[in-house]
Symmetry: D3
């Protein structure tokens, strides 16, 4: 679970972005003392994510607005289900509505897609993981949505994981040198992951005791062979346009992790509306 | 065109978010004096958007990195086309790569989808417009992408347009009262738009001289009838799940504006890669 | 009414600016547990504006300070009237006093002057409007003060209104071209205002269906003629050193709006003091 | 002279405040490659202040804009004089114009009024000083304008000067106790100033070796007597609605400092325009 | 006492710095509803400082955490003494622990060392003062710790005290010119301090009526002679590696102030632990 | 190597903290056009660290100041050696001097102490590592100083390493459960470290395949036994008041890592001065 210290600035910024110098329509047409009550309704099936953000959005607009949750993050709702209820001053609720929905729909969209992916590989030992292909500024929330949907988090940034890619390998002059340098220079608390494209590279990575081997854009057959070759000497991660693959087939090759950029870079907002009574 | 004053903080924040306390992999495996050269390649057809952001991303990481554009924002590229070239210190380029791509792929995805929508209605008098259903924090850039794709911008925030929706109408006690209050209280520089659901409401809106009438979730037949009733007394805007409609049919009802939330809330990142030589 | 999201940073910044590394006089001479009570008194007649800011100033210094309003924003007070009462820890009240007064006196000064202007034209159809000639950083508050004084708000910034001035006209190659470009490129939610200096320009602006015509620095006779020529085809706005004009005469030409830069660029602070009991 | 570290945020904020999501008029009517040249002209006599701010405003909008000064801060210009020239991209210059003028007119207004006050007392030993009655957020610039106009700066904030007022005296239980506490607790680098209202208080202040004695709201006769009583044992400061007094008469009482809140709280913007060629 | 307006950003920043994208260990191993209770224990003798910061650290992490003080800032605790107790949600307490201790140990270390210095000179008229050799970003807190330990604060920054050093003297062309310029240009609320290295300089400084004379790197004998020469015509300050001197001997020369950079630039954290029950 | 994106805000903040509303002494005594040249001199032996920060400090004060390095970070200098030279406008150099020295002395102090520790264990396989006991706000720089001194970096924050301490173990209900939960919930890119106090805990940690075992406050004899028991099944880290231990003896027990909080929590600033010519 993320901490409000990490998201308050973002939420405040989103409100300022949307309100600008004032919600001129609401301020001119709605009386200041009017109160209103509304319900967030799922307009299609999906996994809800972001209720704490919705609560914070309204609190920031007006501390007198009350949000009552009717479900929790991670719950799957069906079309027509009530997600939460909001009560309080009409001006504030109407002013905060769009920002609340923009967060809720996006995060629920990510959680829903992640759940679908996780369901496809259920029963295998593999887990679905995210990537750094997130929307600028929203990473902590989007990774929380992946977790809420039943996925696993890959590294959050370039500092909390070592992932040696082809360019690093070339720059270092080979896998062995790259791993040696990383082991020498990086904090000892981080595992070392190496991206490989063929079996020779896998052998070299194993000799250097890489902790995780990323199988990049391999065919299912090669992937299977790679997994066997690696055994329990390292974790294996399948990567490369996984958003377009049959995830069950990938999982059945025996890989430990399937990382999917599309979980966050190609998001379909879940359809949710706020209906007033 | 947006101004760097509006986006520099966002770009800087995205870099800090991705780099964290340091790109540990690059710093340990790549020598500080190594130079590198790479090309941004379109891996599918699409409309490019965000080159100025990409340039700024690299400049912020290391002022010595040079970006050379091979096309302009708004150009349609085919699979395999070179979008831009980047040269300079290897450490900085590898560190900035992901953030640059995250912006470029997302904005190009929006521009591409907008272009498709605009192409569908070409020859009609209608224009495609965006909404406030944008990603929190990215509105200025996403609306720029819509414009780049050939769309038109709806209001940027709650302060630069008056849009009286059903809740405002109910709160004010009817369309007439709502419009009167808005005309009295809001800056005279803003047009007044009203959301209507039926023909009685249209009549009332016309009597009050609304400038724009939003036809919300109407059937094509009703929409056509509404457009005729309104004539040139107000602009007409078609709205409500337009992302799932046949846009040509909507445009042929004669509406002036078709606003589509999905342009920004349901984005498919354009597939672009950075290949090193 | 502005929202605290828009003003909290400003108020906090003003406090930090005034307190610096600490109110050394108060901290050394006043005991931490001492409580005090004071009253904000009008030392001359004027329209009060800014009570919510005063409240927030003290809350930020010390949440234990209580402000009790004795009037509302927009009320006209006479010399000697009590505006508000403040109770609580002496250190905090003395530390916040100057910032509270700086805001209250300035905003009340603007509201007072606006009220005087509005009174001068009462009974005519014209309204008094502000401009963008505001103090850097205080625009939202200063425009709120104009509204509190009975004035109307012109656009808040360059994004929420189109105002084509002589330089835009020259750059575009004439009024017609300028209006066409604006209509094509700007959000359809904004009206188009054009600044004109003679009757030919008015004719051209009317042909292009400009929504608002700004009559810049015209004689009263010309202004009257212009208003007749325009009729109800556009709104008319009188502009140009209106701060030095006889506003009643201007209003009687029949213009809709009189915009006055001096409302905010040449402010006389209302004389208000905080007296302790 | 202030440092850009202290004003860059303020200038940037003023630009963002004025530009909002974009200068829609300029962007739609003026071509991106058009260049323009304009001159800042004094439309009345006054002392110029703020040229470095004007330069920075344009630089921030577009680094390609060039400002050439035709005078320096502190120079007195007559009606029609050219203050500075600006050349460069038309879009940027038109977008930055209003913010540049808002700063320049306000700061020059303060410098002009200060110069008038300083001229009135020339030949006496007194100096004109400012107060903390400045516009929230602009203190460093406004105090710079006072200095530019020939005035002297009083303390910048509550931390760089000890000024014991009547409430501090009452809270401490008398002038003697207040001064003792201040001497014990405050940094030894600060002088101790005490506000007095009568001759008994002056005697007490002198006994405690106050460094500066503020004569608050005294008649000219009393002020003269007080100055004689104090001699060179302390500096004397005349205070209390000095903006409405005959400053020469005040200065001739022999006081060292005359502090005037109105220098900054009641500002008449100097009339300056930017004319394009 | 500092104000939370001055320290909240710093505390928040310290938390964000330490928590990064989340306390992954605590979040995975500790249940969200678990509550915990712990005590801050002195593991060596020392003067406590920073309890308000500790309180704020935990409040920011989770408003449900309660801190109960068992002593006050400035109290000397012995090994084993309980400083404060903390109760509340286990996740929040474990997440905030390190930041709370980092502040508390550092500030208590400074207070402890200052107390030792103050004790060494007790009975003399001298006071111990700090310098600007503080940790970047922590000045307000570190100077508060010096005060808590019984020391006195020298100027907080370059704006709230005039200290003319050898380079200023050389640049101005002598002590006399430097003092004259400072008297003319600086706010009259500030005393003028001059750094001297020999007796000729002292004479010159006295002739110019310097308020404070800093005796830089003088032998004890010279310092004594200087103090006698100066008498009560100015305050005297001993400076230059005072951290390594016998402070009693220095104080007995009769100087008024002994300023010690090492109080803040060479800090030994007080050993304090947080023990859970 | 840290990136300027991570330190620019800190450096700017340090300058604003020290300059306040202006370096009143320098501005009044030094002419604006005067140029000066100075040299940073080591006044004792030590390892230099922070030259890039010093450069940035001066650049921010005045872009015209030039810093020429005479050594590199990590170089050991002897008393009297020249570290760097600074040339440019006198006002800017004198204004930036203190902040530059505060950073340089502190970081060099850390690098020097780390080098001493590293030298003590040279020839063994152990490395010296830092902790999270850093100064709030300075972590990235302080960890860079440890690295510069020849040490190794432990985790930078709570997100880039899993370290299960006694409280986590108790909260989870034992080492096994804690490790299982961490493995399930945390990113797979992070190693799992467990703090143990006895041999039973070591056995349990090994059974759960902990990656790193922290030996907390063990006697040398126990530590040696623990190292033998663990073999190459996990990395071993010695911890607990290592700042007061004979590091060679600790290293000779065979541990891989010795982590020392005192490297950053108890810093002795290296004595460095800036001398002008």
């Amino acid at each position: 679970m993320y901490n409000h210290l990490q998201t308050d600035e973002l939420i405040k910024h989103a409100l300022v972005e949307d309100i600008g110098t004032g919600d001129i329509t609401t301020l001119s047409t709605v009386r200041e003392d009017m109160r209103i009550s509304g319900r967030f309704i799922a307009k299609e099936e999906g996994v809800i994510c972001g209720l704490a953000v919705v609560k914070r959005v309204f609190e920031m607009v007006d501390a007198a607005i009350l949000l009552t949750r009717k479900c929790g993050d991670g719950d799957k709702m069906r079309k027509g289900d009530v997600i939460a209820q909001v009560n309080g001053p009409a001006q504030g609720i109407l002013t905060g509505e769009r920002v609340a929905l923009n967060f809720l729909q996006r995060l629920s969209g990510i959680a829903t897609r992640t759940r679908q992916a996780a369901d496809q590989i259920s029963g295998t030992k593999a887990v679905i993981a995210d990537t750094r292909k997130t929307t600028p500024g929203l990473r902590v929330l989007e990774k929380y949505a992946v977790k809420t949907g039943g996925g696993s988090n890959h590294r959050f940034n370039l500092a909390d994981g070592i992932l040696i890619k082809d360019n690093h390998i070339r720059a270092a002059g080979g896998i062995t040198k790259a791993i040696e340098r990383a082991r020498q220079n990086a904090p000892h608390t981080l595992k070392i992951e190496v991206e490989v494209e063929n079996f020779d590279q896998i052998k070299e990575a194993l000799q250097c005791k890489a902790d995780i081997i990323m199988l990049d854009n391999m065919s299912l057959a090669d992937m299977k062979k790679a997994v066997e070759m690696i055994g329990d000497k390292a974790l294996t991660e399948a990567s490369g346009n996984m958003g377009d693959k049959d995830l069950r087939e990938v999982a059945e090759t025996g890989v430990d992790i399937i990382s999917i950029g599309a979980l966050t870079h190609t998001v379909r907002a879940m359809d949710i509306s706020l209906r007033f009574e």
